[in-house]
Symmetry: C2
Subunit: 97 residues, 2 copies
């Protein structure tokens, strides 16, 4: 999550205000989320994802490789997404399951 924020070039307090948090609390809350001290409600995670332009699933992904795929999905057009779906289904079909 911090990675996505730094990529967007937004400080913690600005990000918090952007999703509707109070100015006085924004910095502390975003800090907790990034350090892992607290977990945000899903609704908050969703708003953060919108501002940072990534699918919300990106925040819940420990696998860096899968995270990269999810992030790319977020930047993909509808046609690109369809193409990715087809490729993935073909690549995995009939194996290991």
């Amino acid at each position: 999550m911090r990675e996505a924020r730094l990529l967007a070039g937004i400080p913690q307090d600005k990000l918090g205000v952007a999703i509707g948090l109070d100015e006085g609390t924004a910095s502390a809350r975003i800090s907790r989320y990034e350090t892992g001290a607290h977990a945000p409600p899903y609704d908050v995670a969703n708003k953060l994802a919108r501002i940072l332009r990534v699918p919300v699933a990106y925040f819940y992904c420990e696998d860096d490789d899968l995270a990269g795929v999810i992030e790319a999905w977020g930047r993909a057009s509808a046609a690109q997404r369809r193409s990715i779906e087809v490729f993935v289904e073909r690549a995995v079909r009939g194996e290991d399951g």
Copy 2:
């Protein structure tokens, strides 16, 4: 999440016990998670994902198309994953951002 559980053919209480919940509470807790009444802690979601054989990010994905990609990723071999990564990066590179 219910979808993944039914696919695995496990009842709610059995699933709960499988991740370490008490027998008396397992059914009620899993029920709340599936109906959306309560949100599980990330640690619990992680254990559920392991038993149900899906990446944990799958539970936090509202986009059904992306969910399908994530689920397929969970079933993919290391080589297949690498191939997916390469395809996705190529498909999205330089567009829309």
